[in-house]
Symmetry: D3
Subunit: 286 residues, 6 copies
């Protein structure tokens, strides 16, 4: 479709009320899933985040690892086993995780944002004591799979005050300097609480929470905390949605105004979420 | 035309390079002519300016008086006469000018910007010694028609640092406190130089400088200072275009990077000028 | 009387304790009445306010409209009628109010202050959303006579931090951009509360609250809030004093330390109030 | 003479143009002579300096030692001898100088200023490396009589930025930590240059530079640098005036706008100098 | 003992955990006793305090008068008498106190710190209203022996923010400007509370609180507030230790984290206290 | 050797003059070679750098890759070939370089510094456009081996202002987002010039520049730029020393005050260089 310059100007102007609403607000974006693999989707997420910065928001990106960790583990012939559905992370695996998350994925996102006109700075949870971690399973059955013990948001604040976009790899460090691999959704929620974010957006590969998983039209666009137990009981919240919803719940209880589960397979889904009332995905509210 | 949300998002993203280019820049907009009379054009100029602010520019508005001065003079039965095509401004006329410019037009623009989501603050050249004026004709043949003697941009800087949009009525004050009516184009150019603006946009009722005044396709989209004398000789720059071009010339010589004569009758012409390479009107360059 | 330079120096030095006491304090002055008409009184009020600024106070001026609104209404043959003693303000009247308050009176005060060495900046309640108004009479019987719904003191704070003197015309704007004419005393009280002023001074045309309205010696120099109902019952607080006293009461309840009703017909009455213990007029205290 | 409150207000207002002129300016006052001995004069100097601060100037006081050094030397039976009219300062004498200047006189001035409502802080040239000194006579014939080698105005700037009044005892320190006694006029001039003062006022016990020393009416109210040699040749500048004039000359050459030799025996002579055009004493100009 | 450069580096590095612990903390040091008389000890205290500053602490020094007051009283043949073991301080004595404390001792410490590379600034309690005093004995039996009524830490804060080291002579001033001599330990405790210090160190001439005064091995290294009454009853806290312990108690109750009574006769005892866990002297804790 | 606490304190104090000299200065440390492999040396470098920060310097670390790149290339069976002694870097190799430099080595150094009490933040040249790179060999014969085209030190300045320690991986990005591997010495020199560092320290595996490579006693402790060509001609500067010396030369010409080639195999060699006059290695001076 070919639009005249005027029609384009009209559309810019339509965004004004949304721009105004989020001006100066902090938005944590958990970036992962399909939007991290498909080159075109990737490019659009980068544009969306840079645009958010230029129209006055303070986006903070937390990313997962994508399929590349498995690929490198395989190439290096490092065997892994699973405990209750979670991968046991030994030191060799941990090194691969760090190289992929910190050295490859994080820097690719930083490059992508900067190529789109942003000023992004990569961080891991090790930088400036950003994420203090502890083993998720204290018995050591999961190795270096960690959970967030404490967030020190100092370096994030320093960066966003100067209008940089922080991009955070979900790695933590305990007090002895040992690295831990942490679920990126959990990191995003904890960071959102620690920086007092106004919004948390989880990019996923589903259209949101569906009453009937086979019917996109059954999407629950708004979910109250009080209704979560019932939906769990009914099996509506199930499988991979359980941890997503738990992250949102944790963020909402921690004071984050709005949390969203958004379909990253839809191009520009972040912008759509921010700049239209329509809403995409599922919003979890108090 | 109905656009999908996605198509709209694409258009927002297209604006990114322009947003980036002008981020943090000061843009002086001379607002006048048709764009100040037609309600719909008016609304769009307000949106354009507020949008400029939200995407990181620092717009500064200078406005003229429109037809309302004449209307009030007529209602009050104040007779005026003209000297060399300029209206002789006596004290009674001056009062009307001040009431219309400072009390009505300025505040209408401020209201309009604020209703569009901006934070505008009205100023006249009297505020904080912003514009020191002297009579344009020292013999007094024009009464209180003035010209700019000095700009003290302190109050403008104070306001834009806090992200307000200054809206300036083209009134000056001499050292004895006497008010003067100054041509708004001249004020815009002088303010642009004083605040070290990156861009000056004059909204006019013409499509730009035309080689052949009957042929819009003959528009000169870029005009070099060196070519001005020739165009004047040839009669291409003539009539009302002479003072417009002179203002641009003065701004360019004073260090303003880009100056534009833009057709205010085209909706969103400011945005088009800023956000497209196409360019509208005529740009005067060094 | 001719004073030696030494005698003058002594008098400057006498003011030291008062200067010290008010150093850095915010003082809202409601300027109106005779002090706004008589040229000599006017000049002195300007000097007083500028002097306050130079000795370290932060004066904020709120002004009324004086007789000029009526004069212009008459010249324009706009008929007005009264409802319960208040003028019904239709759109035509409102335009005149705006032109006089914002375009003439406000700028005259700004000019006067600047000519006395100050750096004043004119504001109306429309600027930067300073005063959000609503109709005083929700039934619309009074037209666009408004009352203060909310004060956003941001632009005042921005200006006084840079040592400017804000001069405020008592106009408000509702959320649709409609202008309202508000009683200046009410605006002064609301501004004083919003900026957390230390002092509110209402310039009036009476010597203060008199027990016996025919006997200036019966002036009540200090009035406690608790005594107001009794004085109203006794008819001591009556007529035009009722709204003045109500304004003071509102300011005191809002946290303004000291509120004063001062006789603007006495030259330099503001300075006298500030720089002498004697006190002039009536001070309303908690 | 009894003045009405109004007459007093008029006098305050008369000072406005002078207050405006010196607002934010730095004024170095060399305090010494009769004004340091007579209790009443003393009190007035304190008031003058505190008033200067409250009306926006930044006064910096440098003081001499007065007769108290001699008194204590005598009581302690420390013998002194003179070399070319200057007292040889050995270690025992130096200790007395330090105790009197730093422990007694400096703190008396600080107390006096604070009792008048100021916030004064005593300094010696030793504090924070303020004055680096070297022996005036490198052969050691004068002992620890020093001259200024370097001023580090950091601590003065720190204090006046917070609106304190620095009070400086004219003691310096060489790189080994040895204290030196320096002429207070020289310190005042050097400090004035180092802090880029706008004005230097030397309080003396003479009415200024007189053509005829017996005729006060012969006072030279303004002295150009170029005329100094001639006046020295003619014997107009002679005796104690030579070093005073040299200090002023040094300050003027160092960029201090105005330097004044003022009669400290006249009450409030500092205020008179600052707040009247009449001028007292002699002003040395480029 | 000759150490290799490497061995020295190792020792620097050993101090890291202590440096880290106290980084940015305020430490009030009461300087007095032997450490103020012995030249070598003196030099080391200066080094210790300057080093504290360079490794990021904010030391604040309060000093006593040492034996020099008595010497000068004797030389000047000023007779003194004692009331309950405290010297009656008349005006003549007070002057000597001020000259010694403010003019000599204070400036010697400032010189010493600056010669060691610091940027020290001498203060007395008179400067900027730092210490408001009242007579210790309201009946006047002790003359101008004072106690602390109020501390205004403004000037201390101003100085340490710019990385200066404040050095405070224990003199106060009442509201009439009368000077008072105050016990330096009491001043140190009051200053520590007022600036919210993290540590108070009292340099004394004892090894700390000893259970058996003849046995240094009986030192109580940590003393709880609750145990003080018992130790007083048992005579363990007795004589000169009573006021020292009272000062610590007062500081602890005022919120100072750690207070120490340290042996100033041990070289570098301040550094040892700060940079070793061993601890020297007695620490009083809540 | 066992030292008493006192002896240790003495050593701390000995460092004072050096601490003072470098207070507030920026020092770029190129970290590589043996000091990056040997665990004990590593720990000491971490301590040295953290200590530098705590005593007021602003260290900035640039690191190389060590042997780990080769190890991973080998494990992944990526074949590489060499061009003129430099490894051709194709995309697969580049990915390994990025994972090792950015994901492993950089984060190990960050962890090490933080475990020693520092607040380090890892950066690569991609972050915030820190290093713009171009191919070293424009013909592409070296693949993605790059050289520095431009340094944007903004993010470094932001971090050191908040007392963080930046740790920089020597990766650059061209305008299309392509990553380049750059020699770490070159990056260190370019960063030192860009941040206007006072000192550049290159940690190497040699004792400095030796006249006779077999005789450590022939070390040239100071090398003038003018002497470089001669030493190159004589073969004294040869092999791996050539690029090191070139880096120092480039930094010195760029305004870095002091540049040092230091033996990283000596424990605490950085501290020794900074805190002793003895000097270790070779200093290159203008």
């Amino acid at each position: 479709m070919v639009l005249s310059a005027l029609e384009k100007a009209e559309i810019l102007v339509e965004a004004l009320p949304y721009i105004k609403e989020f001006y100066g607000k902090k938005v944590v974006v958990k970036y992962g899933g399909a939007a991290m693999i498909d080159e075109e989707l990737k490019a659009r997420v980068m544009q969306d985040i840079v645009l958010m910065r230029y129209v006055g928001m303070n986006p903070i990106v937390v990313h997962g690892g994508g399929p590349e960790i498995n690929q490198l583990l395989k190439r290096l012939e490092i065997e892994t086993h699973f405990v209750n559905g979670m991968r046991y992370t030994d030191q060799a695996t941990m090194e691969v995780v760090e190289m992929i998350l910190g050295g490859k994925v994080n820097q690719q996102i930083v490059s992508g944002l900067n190529a789109s006109g942003g000023h992004a700075v990569g961080l891991s949870g090790k930088d400036a004591g950003l994420i203090t971690a502890r083993p998720m399973n204290p018995d050591g059955h999961l190795g270096f799979v960690g959970e967030v013990e404490k967030i020190d948001p100092g370096v994030i604040d320093t960066l966003i005050e100067q209008e940089y976009i922080p991009v955070i790899a979900p790695l933590g460090m305990d007090e002895k300097g040992q690295a831990y691999n942490i679920n990126a959704d959990l990191v995003a929620a904890a960071v959102a609480v620690a920086v007092k974010a106004d919004k948390l957006v989880l990019l996923t590969d589903v259209p949101g929470l569906l009453r009937d998983v086979h019917d996109e039209a059954s999407r629950i666009s708004q979910l109250k905390l009080d209704d979560i137990p019932r939906y769990v009981d009914e099996g509506v919240i199930a499988g991979g949605m359980i941890p997503k919803i738990r992250c949102c719940e944790q963020a909402v209880r921690g004071g984050v105004g709005r949390t969203h589960i958004v379909d990253g397979r839809v191009p520009h889904s972040i912008l759509l979420e921010v700049f239209t009332r329509a809403g995409v995905g599922t919003m979890v509210v108090p």
